[in-house]
């Protein structure tokens, strides 16, 4: 072997980051969202510590509103890999029955995900959390560090971020502070798909096209995944061949019409398409600085 391909370099870099983070923290955890980036991150983690299991649990901050297929996939994968999974559902949300229909997408996301995440991190006193975010996802993420320091209130302060030189990461923190670590920082969406293809990494079937019951709302196709979905008077779910480019809470995640039923067909479709990944998520739409604001508040 004389040189590494770009995917080999990316994988080796991610492994180095994972090991460094584990070596420099007391109680690490990996945030696991069941999406494809999480799948890749977990796959790389299995490699990083082989023949040991990853020396940290997975944490799924659940909203109870994910697609059913995601829960099935999650439980099966965790069992197959033999890793520990923690599921956290914000108890306040459970009690108050927070849902996207009555409370709107912003409140729903904020309370279940942002608040839920903080609760879970505090509850288990995790001092380091891996996330699958990539720098190419959004403009404000291009400047995110690989090791990102959060205050005891889990806030991100752009002024407190540390310069990262060579492969040297500074994970030191005061009591109460925590670190978010993004091993896939330098991967692009195409890299992720190529790697899934090359490594034959299992992903949730929702990424593949299949006939599914959907309703069209404001130009977005929403899948009727269970009977909690509130239909408008006269609204009839129609069976259409759709797939998902990004996964979240089913009432908040738009599907795209597609016939791509294989991985290569998905990649082909992605490369030929002209809309970017996060467009399917409702939260990005408010204003152009919105991700930055969310990040400051502790959203991943």
């Amino acid at each position: 072997m004389t040189r590494l391909t770009h995917l080999q370099r990316l994988e080796a870099e991610s492994i180095q980051i994972l090991r460094e983070a584990v070596a420099e923290s007391e109680r690490p955890v990996m945030l696991y969202s069941v999406g494809k980036d999480s799948s890749v991150m977990l796959h790389v983690a299995m490699k990083a510590f082989y023949p040991s299991k990853p020396p940290f649990p997975l944490l799924h901050v659940d909203t109870t509103w994910k697609f059913r297929a995601m829960y099935e996939f999650r439980d099966k994968l965790v069992e197959e890999l033999g890793v520990e999974l923690l599921v956290h559902q914000n108890p306040d949300c459970v009690e108050r029955g927070i849902n996207p229909f009555d409370h709107g997408s912003a409140t729903h996301t904020d309370l279940w995900k942002t608040e839920g995440l903080k609760q879970a991190l505090n509850l288990h006193a995790f001092d380091l959390a891996f996330g699958g975010a990539r720098r190419d996802e959004e403009k404000s993420r291009a400047k995110e560090r690989v090791f990102s320091i959060r205050t005891a209130q889990h806030r991100w302060d752009p002024k407190q971020q540390r310069p990262e030189l060579w492969r040297l990461y500074n994970a030191r923190k005061h009591p109460g502070e925590s670190v978010r670590v993004f091993p896939l920082s330098n991967w692009t969406e195409l890299d992720v798909w190529q790697y899934i293809n090359l490594e034959k990494i299992p992903i949730v079937p929702l990424y593949y096209a299949a006939p599914r019951p959907v309703v069209e709302r404001d130009g977005t196709l929403i899948m009727v995944d269970d009977d909690r979905m509130r239909l408008d008077p006269g609204e009839e779910p129609k069976i259409r061949s759709v797939r998902f480019r990004t996964l979240g809470c089913y009432p908040l995640t738009g599907a795209v019409e597609s016939t791509a039923t294989t991985l290569t067909a998905i990649i082909q479709e992605m490369l030929l398409t002209t809309t970017s990944e996060r467009q399917g998520r409702v939260i990005d739409h408010d204003s152009s600085g919105s991700m930055e604001k969310k990040k400051q508040e502790g959203y991943f």
Binding site: M1, T2, R3, L4, T5, H6, L7, Q8, R9, L10, E11, A12, E13, I15, Q16, R19, V22, A23, M46, K47, A48, F49, Y50, P51, S52, K53, R135, D136, K139, S140, R141, A142, K143, P158, R162, P163, E164, L165, W166, R167, L168, N170, R172, S185, N186, T188, L190, D191, Q194, L198, T264, I267, Q268, L272, T274, T275, S276, S288, G289, E292
Partner: protein, 647 residues
């Protein structure tokens, strides 16, 4: 994405993927100022490789109207200027990483601002780059900042440079302008040791010579920017050097497996290779190269692997597994280049943490030999380094570390400095060479040791360190404590701030740097006295936590007792026995603690004394003596353990 055969994508996705899975990767940095059109160039690279998606493009169109500088035309710069605050200011203020891809390569671009005070960001971006693109505005030619960027590129060891002479459309695509700039740049580049330089005439705004040869520059026969970036061979001599594997993590899934995980930063390794563990110097043989994809026959620089060895040798995180025949040197004193990255200036003598490879150790920096004016490359004398300054200094570590000079290997010679209290990364440095000084000063082994002297004195040596504002009453209380201990028959010595400054430290003033040195010397003297078996009472304002911590580490936990003589500033100032506060307020005294120099109170001192005036000094002194008694300091020393028979 252009530069990919779109036909292949549509017709034969498998072939397309095979092509793209085997791409190489190039990391480069772009250097230039806001006005050189750097963001525009990067926006253009993303746009031309069709990585700008439709919804981003829609946002770009609306943003161009709102913030754009191109009179409503697409402003590519807006594609890359990320944080909202920056967008309003119209400048980028941090390092941003961008990604694009062509048929042959994946690119990671470090986008760093060229603004004067942001040396820090450029050094950060350059530390991981294989190549640098230096932008020059064709209308302005080689500027001071061009020299600055080139110097940093050369300092950080980037061997390949592309000079993109931009805005050629604004000088009528003039060959003469381009030739003049190229000649001037080459002359300068040779002086600072940059040898692989390629100059390309471009217009980022119009797209000339970015992906395709421009019809506007028929006189230019060289490569386009993308063409050059796609094909340049980055000499990967990393694989051919001797093996270096800094150990990140010891892999122990069960009692039968003990592996050492890390990323190879130089050379290659095969099972059967003889290796040396540094710094211990133990040798062994590589047994297996373990990965989740199966054992490997060979691994090369850049790969993250796990090694097992044929012997049960002791290996920990921070060690380097190296080629037995050509291991790295080990040292604890170095000369280095240091780039300062913090608002708070570097303080010679202050204890910092240093991270080199996977090892973190204590470090102090000596007085800089000089700092480099990055604009003129002149060397000037200095006592410290401020934010964004680069200097050459000596470095002393608290233990030996394996290293290679930075010019030989970035990962074995590049380090960061971390502030022990803020935990911020405050500096970055490049090791040049080990200083011989340390090699020749051997620790003199002595037979009568601390315990023996303590036994003869029938006491347990310790340091009681009084800290607090001027006028808090430190010396008064310390004096009373010493008197009591003396009466009880203990051997004591009182080190007092004012007295020490009349002799040992009379060459020192009151700047932050001198205060650090003052306390360093006092701590060393206190250590010698403790070694001699004495109970030391030290009474110093000692305003900085870092130096008090240095003293604590030097003396050793269990023998160091920090006493905070706590008084509100108003109370101390109202007392003002020596009239110093009044002088400081009048501006006749500068660097006065509490007035124009900070006091950092101890977070958790062993003893906190209320010195606001409600508790008499005698009572406070009594509290200190009682505390020492309870800690066992005033108990008789332990008897020596029975000597083992050496036969």
């Amino acid at each position: 994405m252009s530069h990919v055969s779109n036909d292949l994508l549509a017709d034969d996705i498998e072939a397309y993927l095979a092509l793209h899975e085997n791409k190489s990767m190039l990391r480069f940095i772009t250097c230039g100022s806001v006005d050189d059109g750097k963001s525009t160039l990067i926006g253009r690279l993303l746009y031309d490789s069709k990585l700008v998606f439709e919804d981003h493009l829609a946002a770009l169109e609306s943003d161009s109207k709102k913030f754009g500088t191109q009179a409503g035309d697409l402003d590519f710069a807006l594609l890359v200027d990320g944080l909202a605050a920056e967008r309003e200011q119209g400048i980028t203020i941090d390092v941003a990483y961008r990604f694009f891809s062509t048929e042959h390569r994946k690119f990671i671009v470090a986008d760093t601002p060229g603004h004067e005070q942001y040396t820090r960001n450029m050094v950060t971006g350059a530390s991981t780059a294989d190549l640098a693109v230096i932008l020059i505005d064709a209308r302005k030619g080689v500027l001071t900042q061009t020299r600055r960027h080139s110097y940093i590129v050369s300092l950080l060891g980037i061997r390949h440079v592309v000079v993109a002479v931009n805005k050629l459309d604004l000088v009528d695509y003039s060959k003469e302008v381009f030739d003049t700039i190229e000649a001037e740049y080459r002359g300068f580049a040779a002086d600072i040791g940059l040898s692989d330089v390629v100059c390309i005439p471009i217009s980022a705004l119009r797209g000339d010579n970015i992906t395709g040869a421009s019809p506007q520059t028929p006189w230019y026969a060289g490569p386009t920017l993308i063409g050059h970036l796609e094909t340049i061979e980055i000499a990967d001599d990393l694989h051919v050097g001797p093996l270096r594997l800094p150990v990140q993590w010891v892999n122990r899934p069960n009692l039968d497996f003990r592996g050492f995980s890390g990323q190879i930063v130089r050379g290659s390794v095969r099972p059967g290779d003889r290796v040396r563990i540094v710094p211990s110097g133990l040798e062994s043989t590589v047994e297996r190269i373990v990965t989740d994809d199966g054992d490997l026959e060979e691994a090369i620089a850049g790969q993250s692997i796990t090694l097992t060895l044929s012997d049960e040798v002791d290996v920990s995180r921070g060690d380097v597994i190296a080629a037995a025949g050509d291991p790295p040197r080990v040292a604890d004193q170095f000369e280095c280049h240091l780039v300062w990255m913090s608002e708070a200036p570097m303080l010679p003598g202050r204890p910092y943490l240093l991270k080199l490879g996977t090892r973190t150790v204590g470090a102090t920096v000596g007085h800089p030999k000089y700092k480099v004016n990055v604009n003129t490359l002149e060397h000037t004398a200095t006592r410290t380094l401020e934010l964004n300054e680069i200097g050459v200094c000596n470095l002393t570590l608290d233990r030996q570390v394996p290293f290679d000079p930075y010019v030989e290997n970035r990962d074995m010679g590049g380090f960061i400095l971390i502030d022990r209290f803020t935990n911020q990364t405050v500096g970055a440095g490049l090791l040049h060479f080990a200083l011989r000084r340390a090699d020749n000063v051997h620790w003199q082994a002595v037979e009568v040791d601390k315990d023996a002297r303590a036994r003869l004195n029938s006491q347990r040596p310790a340091v009681v360190w009084f800290t607090g504002l001027s006028g808090a009453g430190k010396s008064t209380i310390a004096n009373l404590v010493e008197r009591t201990l003396h009466q009880l028959g203990f051997h004591t010595y009182l080190l007092d701030g004012d007295n020490v400054r009349h002799g040992l430290n009379k060459d020192l003033g009151f700047t932050d740097a001198d205060r650090v040195e003052n306390i360093r010397r006092v701590a060393e003297v206190a250590r010698i006295l403790v070694d001699a078996g004495v109970i030391v009472l030290a009474s110093f304002i000692s305003p900085f936590r870092a130096e008090r911590e240095l003293a604590r580490r030097l003396i050793g936990e269990g023998q160091f007792f920090e006493v905070h003589v706590d008084v509100p500033l108003e109370v101390a100032e109202a007392r003002d026995r020596k009239g110093l506060y009044a002088k400081a307020r009048r501006g006749e005294l500068v660097h006065f603690t509490g007035i124009d120099s900070p006091y950092e109170p101890p977070a958790s001192p062993e003893i906190r004394l209320d010195a606001s005036g409600t508790v008499p000094a005698v009572e406070s002194a009594g509290l200190v003596v009682e505390y020492l008694r309870q800690c066992g300091v005033l108990a008789p020393p332990q008897e020596p353990e029975a000597a083992t028979d050496p036969s």
